[in-house]
Symmetry: C2
Subunit: 344 residues, 2 copies
Amino acid sequence: MTELKLERCKIAVDAMGGDYAPKHEILGAVAAMKEDNNFDLILVGDKEKILKIASEENIDLNEKVIYHSTQVIEMVDKPIDAIKAKPDSSLVVGAKLVREKKAHAFVSAGNTGAMMAVSTLIMGRIKGVSRPTIGASFPTTSGDQKCIVFDAGASVDSKPQHLFEYAVLGTIFSKEMYGVQNPTIGLLNVGEEESKGNELTFAAQKLLKYSKLNFHGNVEGRDILEGTVDIVVCDGFVGNIILKFGESVLNLLKTRVRNYADKGLINKIKALIVKSVLKASLSDMDYQTHGGVPLLGVNGISIIGHGSSSPLAIKNMILRAKEMYDKNLIKKFEEALKTYAITK
Amino acid sequence: MTELKLERCKIAVDAMGGDYAPKHEILGAVAAMKEDNNFDLILVGDKEKILKIASEENIDLNEKVIYHSTQVIEMVDKPIDAIKAKPDSSLVVGAKLVREKKAHAFVSAGNTGAMMAVSTLIMGRIKGVSRPTIGASFPTTSGDQKCIVFDAGASVDSKPQHLFEYAVLGTIFSKEMYGVQNPTIGLLNVGEEESKGNELTFAAQKLLKYSKLNFHGNVEGRDILEGTVDIVVCDGFVGNIILKFGESVLNLLKTRVRNYADKGLINKIKALIVKSVLKASLSDMDYQTHGGVPLLGVNGISIIGHGSSSPLAIKNMILRAKEMYDKNLIKKFEEALKTYAITK
């Protein structure tokens, strides 16, 4: 991968993936290029449709950036079946571009399961990775510090070794992308004491404790937002549920404030103030600011977005992929997996 | 238990349990009696200490309500060891009062693990219950509707049968305590589709689907606050983490609003408005309103409170125990476990 670093970065974008594809994808990609013109864009999808939308949006799109593909994997499609049935889908074609080294990164707001599957199966895994993982970043009470939870849903029924690998990948990611010098790692558990836990955490605790990683120990559900550690590792079942639960908190807040506003004019005015304050105070809880979640452990940069991604979210996903490329993350993952490998 | 129903309700309160014991316990108990004088109070703990605090607080406490015990299980004590080492602790003595039918309910803000252990080991389990469970109730976007999550941390590494039993106990609890006619049950999962899940959910799904319970199907992390169902069942590992994560959300909000307020006078005024609106809109997220969580499945009423319980929280825990007694919940659990039992 070191040679690739010398090349100009090429980012493939699934133009057909999201709920508002290809419009949001085109707008997001164009916005990303305006902000950083130091990469080549490859829009994967139906050429005719892409050009039509670009023209409707008065965007002067260079035809050459389009990599034509004829099929689309829909949101409702079953990932594995769809990959087989639709070999010329934008998702399959985009992942192949990375495998064939025609692109360094692939970004999609399409079917999440299918994106994980094409990334893992087509791009392949980095040596030393048993299972790729998704990291979800949470705001904390400690100012700008983030807490990233691995795995946020790439796989369930994890083994202790998987959690250990998530910790290695997470360490590099936190260091390179968030500038944390020596990221601390917490093992998500039902109590801080070593005597607390389930079968998985007891075994994972040992692996982490005797590794060269900066292991803090067990952490609880509250420690994520409190920023007790930089990285929290857990099984993807738990991580996925926390991520979705967390996303729904803002909805609950909005609904409650809306109901409050409905009770009279003074309430309405107060509610407007609340809305503006919360917007200012919780801006980092807006998924659009980071756009999507990276799938770490696959042999290439893979970023997965919300189906409902806005152009802003798409733009930020692309810029994030660019940053991961600039920082040579894949190479650094490879090295870390060797450095921290458990010698039996 | 039907005969017991005819008796006057007796509620034992662990006077030595919480961080502010026995003061908050005494104040809470006296407040509960002011609100409902239709039960007998039994304050379990050090007689001298209790009388001293009562006198300091100018409370005319009838000595007869005190059930003297000499030992105290501390917050840091290991549950099982402590139970053996301290047979005359308020926790052990209180649970024994229930086993010996001298009390119908036991309420404690003490060591949570020890309270679960004494309730399970000393009171015993209701026939048909493999593992007792804790239910944590969450606010939802659907007005007054609550969503109760079982298990919120009583045990980990649950088997499918345990989740099924949680659903049975939860159904009765939701019906009787929250007045929900035919409570819907969701199985917490990483996706709604039947094809999604881990080993536990695949097996539990089958048990729930073919039972006579009102099973809605799989639900995701976001469905808890959205109120998609009345009851969510999951392993205690996941439930505990969601509960603690959820509790920390309000802290994050408070910190963020406080930081906002620090940035000038106008911000300060706006932040005061935000604080008052959130307080009004999210009052049901304050744990003090319901006080504690009931441990369901044990042969007696057992309510576990926060270590830091305020007198208000203690009062509400006692009144909740009283309500569970008035509604004859233990008897109804027994019957439901027979009605819904899976015939192999």
